[in-house]
């Protein structure tokens, strides 16, 4: 296996307990264990994380940017989908 055969992995780091993993970048690696190790050295060496996920990039299905209008435009004018659209009736507490 040459360097060119290494797979691309997307790296997700959880910065603290209780938070969600966030995408931080990607690495090339020969196998998943190596992906974790190199991600550790590249993305957590300044104490940025408590947990690492490595996901083969090819396992990710992404939305098509060409379809962005069809996918996301319809949501833009539906402000009533935000909770702030609604007024809280007087006398309601702890909502």
């Amino acid at each position: 296996m040459s360097r060119d055969d290494w797979e691309l992995y997307e790296i997700f780091i959880r910065t603290a307990r209780g938070l969600a993993h966030r995408h931080v970048g990607s690495v090339h690696a020969a196998d998943p264990e190596m992906a974790i190790e190199v991600a550790r050295d590249i993305y957590t060496r300044r104490n940025e994380g408590v947990s690492i996920w490595a996901v083969p990039s090819k396992a990710i299905t992404a939305s098509d940017p060409e379809e962005a209008d069809a996918l996301f435009e319809p949501a833009k004018d539906k402000i009533y989908r935000h909770p702030t659209f609604y007024k809280i009736p007087e006398g309601v507490e702890n909502i």
Partner: protein, 262 residues
């Protein structure tokens, strides 16, 4: 009987503690410098980061041990003076760590063989009778454990990789094996320190090392090396030519511009 012996322990001699700290510091310094040589040459950008982190871990550890050696010695030498202003004969590192990197297989295999020993040694020292040794051991232990994990994964990856990677790993083992015996060679210093209550420093680590390393080599599909004559001498300053070249690079600045700070 055991408690009676423990009560009679004489405290270790200061000079012995200095030498032990120097040995620990020199191993880490020289191996750290070897890893620094990979910077700009590692097989991939990702490994460049990995190997420079190993180098920094080891040079950081060297600084702790050499500073301790200097403090215990009490002659005004700190880690920098000990690292930059001693000559080859004064270095006490193992021959194993001064060997050139050769290739990636040799580098990671040497790193594995050394790191298992390093971890066993540091784990023991985290229970040493001297507090200063316990403190440094506790600080570096997580790094050393990671080094074992990193190197272990690479030994398996190369052993179980391609024909070429397997061939290189086997060649590296055959080439390096004769330098492994020195880690487990007792001498008067280790005997005196162990008698003063220190944990096993050499031969006492061998059984655990043999077991762990043997298992990994088997998992990697590597043929165990034939027993052979071991080469020793680093601990008493009898080094190969390679260390001189390494120090020439490491010490160039201080040799060319004494006392220059940067």
């Amino acid at each position: 009987m055991a408690t009676a012996t423990a009560e009679k322990l004489a405290p270790p001699k200061a000079a012995d503690l200095v030498t032990l700290a120097l040995r620990l510091g020199d191993d880490a310094l020289v191996l750290g410098q070897r890893y620094a040589e990979w910077v700009g040459h590692a097989p991939a950008l990702e490994l460049e980061m990995a190997v420079s982190n190993l180098a920094l871990d080891l040079i950081g550890e060297a600084q702790l041990w050499l500073d301790l050696a200097g403090r215990l010695e009490g002659e005004g030498r700190d880690a920098d003076k000990l690292a930059y202003l001693r000559d080859v004969l004064d270095f006490t590192n193992l021959l194993l760590v001064e060997q050139p990197n050769h290739d990636w297989a040799y580098t990671v295999l040497r790193h594995y063989l050394y790191s298992v020993y390093h971890r066993l040694l540091i784990e023991g020292l985290s229970r040493a009778p001297e507090e200063a040794f316990r403190e440094i051991a506790a600080k570096v232990l997580p790094e050393v454990r990671y080094h074992v994990k990193f190197a272990h994964s690479w030994v398996l990856r190369l052993g179980d990789g391609t024909e070429e990677s397997h061939r290189r790993l086997q060649a590296a083992l055959d080439r390096i094996w004769r330098f492994t015996g020195e880690m487990f060679t007792d001498d008067e210093l280790t005997a005196r320190l162990e008698a003063a209550g220190f944990p096993p420093l050499a031969s006492g680590l061998k059984a655990a090392w043999d077991e762990e390393v043997g298992r990994t080599l088997k998992d990697a599909g590597i043929t165990p090396p034939q027993p052979r004559q071991m080469i020793t001498g680093g601990r008493i300053g009898h080094h190969g030519e390679h260390l001189g070249h390494l120090l020439a690079e490491l010490q160039f600045m201080q040799r060319a511009y004494p006392n220059r700070e940067w």
